[in-house]
C-alpha cells in the first residue's frame, strides 16, 4: 500500500469498501439529464436522410423543395457542405471515413443529407422532400463475398476489400508444429454483435457566433471526438467543446467520432441556432456501431506431456463499411491471446475485411473467440492425450513476469489461481461427466483483458485539483463516466489520499474545455491511467497541504499527522493544536499560493516501436510493452439443455476475477454481472441478420436482436483473488471485462459435458444446437 498512510492515524481506508455509485440518486429520481432530455432556447430538431442502398454512388442531391418548407432552417449535404479532404479514422493508415460523404455511400442507412427544423414533424417532412440521385452498385455482406475475385471494391484503394493486415511471428511456428506429438486444428467463429445501448444516440450542438461549437452527446472519449471534429471541420481544438453529462451506456460502441456530430455542427452553424438530432432505435442499430464478426483458425502443437510447442492463428475480422475503431479489434485479439498460454513459437496473422454493413467498432466482449478456442482446445486435447484438463491448463498457464511473443511483460497474473478457485467453488471435479443423465453439464473458460493499450501521445492523463477556502475541492479529469462507477472511483482515490470526505470532493469530468486531455473511457483506462493521474494530483495537493499545516504548527511537513480529518503534530497522540483543512486552505490563499494538486500519468507502454509502414500495409513487426496491466479470470458454467428443442438454460456461473485489489466490490460485482450478461446474450441468443437482396439489417431492435432479459439470468457467484499489480493505483486492475471473456469456452465445454456435442460457432442458438444434436444421433445410429 501507499506510504502516504504513514501520515494518517485512525483513518479507515476506503479501499475495498462497498460504496454506492456517485450519481445514482439523480438517476433514481429521473433527474439526470441526458442529451435527449436537454432543451435549449431556440433549439431546432435535426433529422438525417439516409441511403436506401448498401453501396451506391451519389450523383446528385436536390434540396430545393425541402428548403422551401416553412420551419426548415438549415439543410446540409455531403456534396455542398462537407469540407473536402477531411477524413476520419482513429489511426492514419485506415482514415477512410468521410463522415458526411459526397461521392459514395457504403452501407444501407449511411448519411447523405440532413435538415434542421422547428419541430420533428417538419424535419421528417423536409427529409422526404430531398431528392437524391443514386447509382446503385453491387454490394457484399460477408467476408467470403468481399474477398472473392472480382468483388466490388468498397474502398477503391483496398484490394480484396482488405483494410489492414497485422502479423506477428515469433520463433518458427511451422517447425514447432512439425516437431509436435499432436497438433490440434480447429476453426471457430463468432457473429456480428450489437451493443443495443439503452440511450438512443442523441447529439445536441450549440454553435456560438464567435465560432465555438458546444456539444452534448453520448461518447466514451470526448477528446477523441474533439480530435475527429477538429480534423474534419478544420477549426482549432479550443473551438470545439464537448460538455460533461450522464450517458446511457457505451460498452465500446461510442468510441468514434460519429457523423451525426459533424452534421449537428454543420447544421447549427448554418442555422445559427442549437440543433438536436435524436436517433430512432432502428437508426441506432443500423447507423451507429456493431462488433465485427470473426473467423479464428487455430493450430496448436502439443508434446505428449501436454506442453504447447507452438500456436498458429489465422484471424479474419469481418467489419463494416469503414475501419473506424474496428482497426483496434485487429490487434486486440493478439493482446488477449498471447498472454494466457505459453507458446515458444507463435504466429498471429490477422486481416480486417470491409463489407457493406453497419460500421464496426469495439465492444466490451472484445475478442472472446480466442479464449474460447483455447478452452475448447484444452478440453479436446485432454481427451486425446489422456491428461486431466485442469492439469493441462495449469501446465501452460503463463505466470507473472513472463514475456509474451510480442515482448510485453505480464506485470501480474493470477490466471492459474483463478482456474483452481473456479474448479473448487463450482464443484467442477465432482460434477464433470456425471450430470449428462439430467442433460446438464459443467465447463470452464478463462479470459483476460488489457488495461490501456497503445494510443500514441494520447495514452496519458493529466488531473488537476482545485481547493476552496473551506477545504472542499474539485477534481478535474478528462475521462468520463458511462455508468460503470468512474466518478465514484475518482472521488474514492482522492478521498483516500487526502483523508477528506467523498462528499466534499466534487468532480469536473469529461469536459474538453475545462479538463486536460485524457484517453477517455477507452481501453479500460479509467483506472490505470485517469485514476492514476488523479492519485498523483491528490498526492501533490497533500504535500502542499502538509507543508502549510506544518508552517501553522511550526514544524516541518514530515512531522504533521492527520487524525479525524485534522492536522496535528505527530507523536502528541492528538493533543495540542489542531489545524483544519479549511484553515490550511485559507492560510494558503492569504499567502497568494492557493492549494492545488497537479498529476500526470503516462501509460507504461513502449510505443516507439509500434509504427506503421508509411506505404500503408499495417504489418510491421511490433515489439515492446503493449499494455499497462492485464486482468484475468475464469468462469465455470453449469447449464441444462432441452435436447428436443436445442434450447440452453444456464443455471449457475461461478466467476473468479483476477483484477488486483478490488477498490469497490459492490460496483465491480455489478460490472461483472453486466459483462456476463453481454457474454451470455452473444453466446446463446443474439444474432444479426441482413437481407441479402437489399443489404438492410433486419435485427434492429430489442425484439429481433435478442438481448437477455432478467429471466435469462442465472445464479452468479463472484469471487476476487485480490492479488495486487505492482504498477497500478492500489494494485487494482480493470475488473469488469477480462474475467468474463472466457464464458463462451465455458458454455461450449459445458454443452459437450452435457450431451457430447462440440460447438465452435457463436451464437449457440437453439436451432444450431438441435442440428448438431440430430447429426450426432444419426451418426450413432449407423
Amino acid at each position: 500500500m501507499s506510504s502516504d498512510r504513514f501520515y494518517e492515524f485512525d483513518k479507515e481506508t476506503l479501499i475495498g469498501k462497498d460504496l454506492p455509485r456517485v450519481g445514482s440518486v439523480d438517476k433514481a429520481m429521473g433527474r439526470a439529464r441526458y442529451a435527449g432530455d436537454m432543451v435549449l432556447p431556440g433549439m431546432l430538431y435535426g433529422k438525417t436522410l439516409r441511403s436506401p442502398y448498401a453501396h451506391a454512388r451519389i450523383k446528385n442531391i436536390d434540396t430545393s423543395q425541402a428548403e422551401k418548407i416553412i420551419g426548415v432552417k438549415a439543410v446540409v449535404t455531403g456534396i455542398h457542405d462537407t469540407p473536402r479532404g477531411a477524413v476520419f479514422g482513429i489511426i492514419p493508415h485506415t482514415r477512410d471515413h468521410i463522415l458526411l460523404p459526397y461521392d459514395k455511400v457504403r452501407y444501407l442507412g449511411e448519411e447523405v443529407a440532413a435538415v434542421a427544423a422547428v419541430d420533428e414533424d417538419t424535419a421528417e417532412e423536409a427529409i422526404a422532400a430531398i431528392k437524391v440521385e443514386y447509382e446503385p452498385l453491387p454490394f457484399v455482406l460477408t467476408w467470403q463475398d468481399a474477398m472473392k475475385e472480382g468483388a466490388p471494391l468498397i474502398h477503391e484503394h483496398r484490394s480484396q476489400n482488405m483494410a489492414a493486415h497485422y502479423l506477428v511471428h515469433e520463433g518458427d511456428v511451422e517447425a514447432a508444429l512439425k516437431d509436435s506429438d499432436y497438433v490440434y486444428e480447429q476453426g471457430f467463429t463468432c457473429d456480428v454483435a450489437s451493443h443495443a445501448l439503452p440511450e438512443p444516440f442523441t447529439v445536441l450542438c450549440d454553435y456560438e457566433p464567435s465560432g465555438k461549437f458546444n456539444f452534448w452527446m453520448q461518447t466514451q472519449c470526448p477528446f477523441q471526438v474533439r480530435q475527429g471534429l477538429h480534423n474534419t471541420m478544420k477549426v482549432p481544438a479550443s473551438d470545439i467543446r464537448l460538455h460533461s453529462l450522464p450517458m446511457g451506456g457505451a460498452h465500446g460502441g461510442r468510441s468514434d467520432t460519429p457523423p451525426a456530430a459533424l452534421i449537428a455542427g454543420l447544421l447549427s452553424r448554418k442555422a445559427a441556432r442549437p440543433v438536436q438530432i435524436k436517433f430512432s432505435r432502428e437508426e441506432v442499430e443500423d447507423c451507429m456501431r456493431d462488433k465485427a464478426a470473426k473467423v479464428w483458425r487455430m493450430k496448436v502443437g502439443f508434446k505428449k506431456d501436454g506442453s504447447i510447442t507452438g500456436r498458429d492463428i489465422y484471424m479474419l475480422l469481418e467489419a463494416g463499411a469503414y475501419a473506424s475503431s474496428a482497426i483496434v479489434e485487429l490487434w486486440v485479439p493478439l493482446l488477449i491471446d498471447e498472454v494466457m498460454w505459453r507458446a515458444p513459437n507463435y504466429r498471429y496473422d490477422a486481416y480486417l475485411i470491409y463489407t457493406n454493413k453497419t460500421i464496426s467498432s469495439m465492444m466490451r466482449t472484445r475478442a472472446h473467440v480466442g479464449p474460447m478456442a483455447m478452452d475448447v482446445c484444452f478440453d479436446q486435447v485432454s481427451e486425446t492425450l489422456g491428461i486431466d484438463p485442469i492439469e493441462l491448463r495449469l501446465k501452460n498457464a503463463m505466470l507473472t513476469n513472463e514475456i509474451t511473443p510480442s515482448k510485453s511483460v505480464i506485470t501480474s497474473t493470477a490466471l492459474s489461481e483463478s482456474i483452481v478457485m473456479a474448479v473448487e467453488k463450482s464443484g467442477y471435479k465432482e460434477k464433470r461427466g456425471k450430470l449428462s443423465h439430467l442433460k446438464r453439464g459443467i465447463g470452464l473458460g478463462s479470459g483476460n483483458m488489457q488495461s490501456m493499450f497503445y494510443m500514441g501521445f494520447r495514452a496519458g492523463s493529466t488531473a488537476f485539483i482545485k481547493f476552496n477556502d473551506d477545504g472542499s475541492c474539485t477534481v478535474f479529469t478528462g475521462n468520463c463516466d458511462l455508468g460503470q462507477g468512474n466518478q465514484t472511483m475518482y472521488k474514492q482515490v482522492t478521498a483516500e489520499v487526502l483523508g477528506i470526505d467523498m462528499d466534499n470532493i466534487k468532480l469536473c469530468y469529461g469536459d474538453t474545455e475545462l479538463c486536460y486531455q485524457d484517453p477517455g473511457d477507452y481501453s479500460m483506462s479509467a483506472l490505470v491511467i485517469s485514476a492514476h493521474a488523479i492519485k498523483k494530483a491528490a498526492e501533490d495537493a497533500k504535500r502542499r497541504l502538509l507543508e502549510v499545516a506544518g508552517d501553522i504548527l511550526d514544524v516541518s511537513w514530515e512531522e504533521v499527522e492527520m487524525r479525524n480529518k485534522k492536522y496535528y503534530v505527530r507523536f502528541r497522540l492528538g493533543k495540542g493544536r489542531a489545524v483544519t483543512i479549511g484553515e490550511v486552505c485559507r492560510t494558503a490563499f492569504k499567502r497568494g499560493k492557493p492549494i492545488f494538486g497537479f498529476g500526470d500519468y503516462r501509460a507504461r507502454i513502449d510505443y516507439s516501436d509500434f509504427g506503421v509502414d508509411v506505404k500503408g500495409d499495417y504489418n510491421e513487426k511490433t515489439y515492446g510493452q503493449k499494455v499497462t496491466a492485464y486482468s484475468f479470470g475464469t468462469t465455470a458454467v453449469e447449464l441444462e439443455i432441452d435436447t428436443d428443442t436445442g434450447k440452453v438454460r444456464v443455471l449457475d456461473i461461478w466467476a473468479v476475477n483476477d483484477c488486483g485489489t478490488v477498490l469497490n466490490p459492490l460496483l465491480v460485482k455489478g460490472n461483472m454481472h453486466g459483462q456476463l450478461n453481454f457474454m451470455l446474450g452473444q453466446g446463446l441468443l443474439e444474432k444479426n441478420v441482413w437481407d441479402p437482396k437489399t443489404g438492410q439489417k433486419l435485427t434492429s431492435d430489442f425484439r429481433t436482436y435478442k438481448v437477455p432479459t432478467a429471466n435469462e439470468t442465472p445464479n452468479i457467484e463472484c469471487y476476487f483473488l485480490n492479488k495486487p499489480d505492482p504498477y497500478t493505483p492500489y494494485g487494482a486492475k480493470e475488473g469488469s471485462l477480462g474475467f468474463g471473456c472466457g464464458l463462451h469456452g465455458a458454455i461450449s465445454n459445458a454443452i459437450y459435458d452435457a450431451i457430447g456435442v462440440r460447438v465452435y460457432d457463436v451464437p449457440f442458438t437453439p436451432d444450431s444446437l438441435l442440428k448438431l444434436i440430430k447429426e450426432k444421433e444419426a451418426l450413432e445410429k449407423k
Partner: protein, 286 residues
C-alpha cells in the same frame, strides 16, 4: 431509408357506443384503422405499416370491456377486455383455466395490461397466442355491423370480418366437465418473446376412450391451425404412447409455417412436434 420517431398524422375518432362505431365504419369504408390496446397498432404505425387516414379508438365504448359467465350460455368476453383482466378473472381461472393460463403466460405485464383479447385476435398474426386456445375451447366470435349482428367461428373470423364490422364479443361455450387440457409453447426468451410455436388441446374421455378431441396449433398459417387429422386419429380411441406419437407426427406435418429472421420453417416444424407432443401428454396424462 426512412427512420421514424414520430407517429404519422391521422384523424382521430373516439366513438362512445357500438352504434357510433358502426356508423363511422360504414361511412368511411376501408379508411379506418381500429385501435384497441395499441400494443400492435401503435407499434406498426411507428414502422409505417398499415396506415390509414382515420384511427378509431374503441377505448370509450364501455360495453366492449367486460367478462361475464352464465350457467347456461358459458363465458362471454368483450373484445376490449385486457389480457391481464382475463388472466386475473376468478371465473376464468376457475372454469376456463386453460384460457387463464394462456393469457397469463402471454407477453409481459405491460402488454397484458394494455393488450386486449379482441386486438390479439384481430391482428391477423399467426403468432396470436390466444387463437389456438380459443379454437380448442370452441369459441365463437360476435361480430356487429350496420347490417346486423352475427356469430362467426374463430377459424373463419379472418376471412369473414368486413371492414365495416367490429369484433365485439368472444363467446366460449360451457366447459366440458371431464375435459382435460394441455398447453405448451416455445419462445426464445420466456416471458418476453412471442411464441414461435404453441399447441393447445382439450380432450374429453369416456370409458377410457377419447370422445371430444380438439388440437390447435399456434405459429402456423391460419388455414392449418386446426390439426384435424390428429383429432380424427385420436377420436374414439384409447390413449397409448404410440398413438400420441402418431398424432404428434400428423399435427406437425399438417401445420404450415414460414421461415422468419431468426428460425427456418424446418426448425419450426421440429419445435411444433415438441410442443404438440408435450401438450398432448399434459392432457392425456401419459
Amino acid at each position: 431509408m426512412e427512420y421514424y420517431r414520430r407517429l404519422p398524422k391521422f384523424e382521430y375518432l373516439d366513438p362512445k357506443t357500438r352504434d357510433e362505431a358502426i356508423a363511422m365504419l360504414d361511412s368511411r369504408k376501408g379508411e379506418i384503422r381500429i385501435l384497441a390496446g395499441g400494443t400492435i397498432v401503435v407499434h406498426q404505425m411507428k414502422e409505417r405499416i398499415g396506415n390509414r387516414p382515420f384511427l378509431m379508438s374503441l377505448k370509450l365504448i364501455k360495453d366492449l370491456d367486460y367478462i361475464s359467465f352464465d350457467d347456461k350460455k358459458g363465458l362471454s368476453i368483450g373484445a376490449m377486455a385486457s389480457l391481464q383482466s382475463i388472466a386475473d378473472s376468478p371465473v376464468v381461472q376457475e372454469k376456463y383455466s386453460l384460457l387463464a393460463k394462456a393469457c397469463r403466460a402471454l407477453g409481459t405485464p405491460q402488454l397484458r395490461n394494455m393488450g386486449t383479447i379482441g386486438g390479439n385476435l384481430a391482428c391477423r398474426f399467426s403468432t396470436a397466442e390466444v387463437v389456438p386456445v380459443l379454437i380448442v375451447l370452441g369459441a365463437e366470435m360476435g361480430v356487429v355491423g350496420s347490417e346486423g349482428n352475427r356469430t362467426v367461428a374463430l377459424e373463419d373470423l379472418f376471412k369473414e370480418l368486413k371492414n365495416t364490422e367490429l369484433l365485439a364479443d368472444i363467446r366460449v361455450p360451457l366447459p366440458l366437465t371431464q375435459a382435460k387440457w394441455g398447453y405448451q409453447k416455445f419462445a426464445v426468451r420466456d416471458h418476453y418473446d412471442f411464441a414461435t410455436v404453441s399447441a393447445a388441446t382439450v380432450v374429453n374421455s369416456a370409458a377410457g376412450k377419447c370422445t371430444d378431441v380438439r388440437i390447435a396449433l399456434g405459429g402456423v398459417t391460419l388455414a392449418t391451425m386446426r390439426a384435424k387429422e390428429s383429432e380424427k386419429l385420436l377420436s374414439g380411441k384409447a390413449v397409448t404412447e404410440d398413438l400420441i406419437a402418431q398424432a404428434t407426427q400428423l399435427a406437425s406435418e399438417s401445420g404450415q409455417m414460414r421461415s422468419d429472421v431468426y428460425f427456418t420453417a424446418d426448425y419450426k416444424k421440429d419445435l411444433l412436434r415438441v410442443v404438440v407432443q408435450r401438450a398432448l401428454k399434459d392432457a392425456l396424462g401419459a
